[in-house]
C-alpha cells in the first residue's frame, strides 16, 4: 500500500513535468513562429528556459515555499521544544531523516510539509497550532506531515506548486502586456506598423488565458483528496494514538482562516487555510469525514 503510493506519486510527478514542458514548448513554438519565423528556435529556447527555471525551482523548493508562506526556520530544540521534539520523534518512528523545521507567525492553527524527498524535507507549523494543541494532538498533526514526507506526497505537491506559481506569474505578465499593448495600439493607430506585434500579443494573451486554468487543473490532479486520508492513517500508524489526531482535527475544523496565506500553497496544509465556502474545487476532504474514518480504526 505504502510502496504503491510512493510509486504512483513518483509516476505522477513525471507526468506533471512532461505536461508542463509540452505547454512551454507550445508557447515557444507560437512565439518563435511569429517573432523569428522559425518553430524550432522558439521551441528550443523555450525548453532551455523552462528547464533552467524548473531546475532552479526544484533545487530551492523548500526556500521558495517557505518564503511564500512566511516560514521562519528554527535550528535547535530550545526555540520551540515541543514542536522540535515532536518532529524528532515522528521522524524516528517513520524512519526518515530529521527534516528542517519552520514556524509561521499566524494565530490560525495549521501545518504543512514540503521538499523533494525524505532527505530534503521541511515541516512548518503555525504559532496558533503550537499554542492550542496538547502534546498528543501535536504529535498527531506532525505524524500526518511525516506520512506525507515518507509517501513522497511532498515531492509532487511541491513541484505542482512551483509549476502553477510559474504559470500564474506568466499569466500576470501576459495580462499586463495585453493591457499595455492595447494602449499602445490606440496611440499607434495612424502609423499602422504594429500588425505583427498585435498578432503576437493576441496569441500570447490567449495562450496565457488558457494556461492559467490548466495550471489549476494540474494542481487538482496532483493533489488528490485521497492522500489526506492516507496520511491520517499513516499518522495513527506512527503515534498509535488515533485520539490525538481526532481531537487535533476537531480543533483545526473549528478554527479561523489564516491571515495571509498564499492561495497556491493552500493544498499543502493539513486543513484548508482559506476555509472557503464552495466545495467543488476543495483540495481537502471534509474534516468530519476524516474524523469518522479515524474513529473506525
Amino acid at each position: 500500500m505504502l510502496y504503491q503510493q510512493i510509486q504512483s506519486n513518483k509516476r505522477r510527478t513525471i507526468v506533471l513535468l512532461v505536461a508542463f514542458f509540452v505547454l512551454v514548448a507550445l508557447v515557444g513554438a507560437a512565439v518563435g513562429y511569429l517573432l523569428l519565423d522559425s518553430l524550432v528556435y522558439g521551441v528550443v529556447a523555450a525548453i532551455i528556459i523552462g528547464a533552467v527555471y524548473t531546475a532552479i525551482m526544484i533545487s530551492n523548493s523548500t526556500a521558495v515555499v517557505m518564503a511564500m508562506n512566511h516560514g521562519q526556520e528554527i535550528t535547535n530544540a530550545d526555540q520551540q521544544p515541543e514542536l522540535w521534539h515532536a518532529v524528532e520523534d515522528m521522524a524516528m518512528v517513520a524512519q526518515v531523516p530529521m527534516p528542517r523545521v519552520f514556524v509561521i507567525a499566524d494565530e490560525s492553527p495549521n501545518a504543512f510539509a514540503t521538499g523533494n524527498d525524505p532527505k530534503h524535507a521541511a515541516v512548518a507549523a503555525t504559532t496558533g497550532l503550537l499554542r492550542i494543541m496538547t502534546r498528543s494532538e501535536l504529535e498527531g498533526v506532525i505524524g500526518h506531515e511525516m506520512s506525507h514526507v515518507r509517501n513522497y506526497d511532498i515531492r509532487i505537491s511541491t513541484i505542482a506548486l512551483a509549476l502553477s506559481a510559474a504559470i500564474t506569474l506568466l499569466t500576470n505578465i501576459g495580462g499586463n502586456w495585453w493591457f499595455w499593448g492595447s494602449g499602445e495600439r490606440r496611440r499607434d493607430n495612424d502609423r499602422n506598423n504594429s500588425g505583427g506585434l498585435q498578432a503576437i500579443l493576441m496569441i500570447f494573451s490567449i495562450l496565457m488565458m488558457v494556461l492559467a486554468p490548466l495550471a489549476a487543473v494540474a494542481v487538482q490532479m496532483a493533489i488528490s483528496r485521497n492522500r489526506e486520508y492516507l496520511a491520517d492513517a499513516g499518522s495513527v500508524e506512527l503515534t498509535r494514538n488515533p485520539q490525538g489526531l481526532i481531537s487535533a482535527l476537531r480543533k483545526l475544523g473549528g478554527a479561523e482562516p489564516m491571515q495571509d496565506v498564499d492561495p497556491s500553497s493552500a493544498a499543502l496544509y493539513i486543513s484548508n487555510p482559506l476555509k472557503n465556502k464552495e466545495h467543488l474545487f476543495d483540495t481537502h476532504p471534509p474534516i468530519e469525514e476524516r474524523i469518522a474514518r479515524l474513529e473506525k480504526m
Binding site: 521544544p81 524528532e88 520523534d89 524516528m92 518512528v93
Partner: protein, 182 residues
C-alpha cells in the same frame, strides 16, 4: 552439457544463499541499532535525574520518598544487563516519574521554577522517545523474526544459527492515567 547445468544450478543456489544471508545480517543489525536508540534515551534520562532530584529537594518536602525511589530505580536501570531487565526497571521508573509530574501541579513554587520546567520538558521528551524507539524496536524485531521463520530463509538461518530477537512488552501501567493524591 550436464556439467554446465550442474555448475549453473550450484552457482544460482550459492548466490541466493549469499543474498539471503546478507539480508538476515542486515535485518539483525536493524534490531541492534533500534535497541541502541532505546539505550541512548535510557542513558539520557539517567543523566537528567540527578538534576531533577536536586531541583525538587528544596521545594517538595513530601516527595522525599519518591526521590529515593527514583534514585534507586535509576541505579537499577544502569545496573541491568539484559534488555528485558533494563526495560522492566525503566518501565517502573517511567511510572514513578509520570506520577510525580502529575502531583507536581500541586506545588506552585516548583511550577514557577524555570529550571524545573525545562527538566520536565526534557524528561517528557525522553519518555516519549523511549516509547517511540520501543515501537521502532518491535517493528524491526517483527521484520527480522518473520524472515527467520519464512521459507527458504529459515534454512540459511538454521545453518548459521541466527537467533530470534525478543519483543519488548508495552507496560500496562503506561496506558492508565496516574492517580493524583494530595
Amino acid at each position: 552439457m550436464t556439467i554446465i547445468i550442474v555448475i549453473v544450478v550450484i552457482a544460482v543456489i550459492a548466490l541466493a544463499w549469499i543474498a539471503i544471508y546478507n539480508g538476515l545480517v542486515k535485518a539483525r543489525m536493524q534490531t541492534q541499532e533500534s535497541w541502541s536508540q532505546i539505550d541512548v534515551q535510557l542513558k539520557r534520562r539517567n543523566d537528567l535525574i540527578p538534576n531533577l532530584v536536586e531541583t525538587v529537594k528544596g521545594y517538595a518536602k513530601h516527595e522525599s520518598e519518591t526521590l529515593t525511589k527514583v534514585t534507586q530505580l535509576r541505579q537499577d536501570v544502569a545496573a541491568a544487563t539484559t534488555p528485558a531487565d533494563k526495560m522492566a526497571a525503566s518501565n517502573q521508573l517511567s511510572g514513578v516519574l509520570s506520577g510525580f509530574f502529575a502531583r507536581a501541579e500541586a506545588y506552585p513554587d516548583l511550577k514557577a521554577n524555570t529550571n524545573f520546567n525545562k527538566l520536565q520538558e526534557e524528561l517528557t521528551n525522553t519518555e516519549n522517545k523511549i516509547a517511540y524507539s520501543r515501537q521502532l524496536f518491535n517493528a524491526t524485531t517483527a521484520n527480522y523474526n518473520t524472515r527467520l521463520q519464512s521459507f527458504p530463509t529459515n534454512i540459511v538461518a538454521g545453518v548459521h544459527h541466527f537467533q530470534p530477537s525478543e519483543f519488548l512488552q508495552v507496560p500496562e501501567a503506561e496506558k492508565e492515567v496516574p492517580t493524583v493524591k494530595f
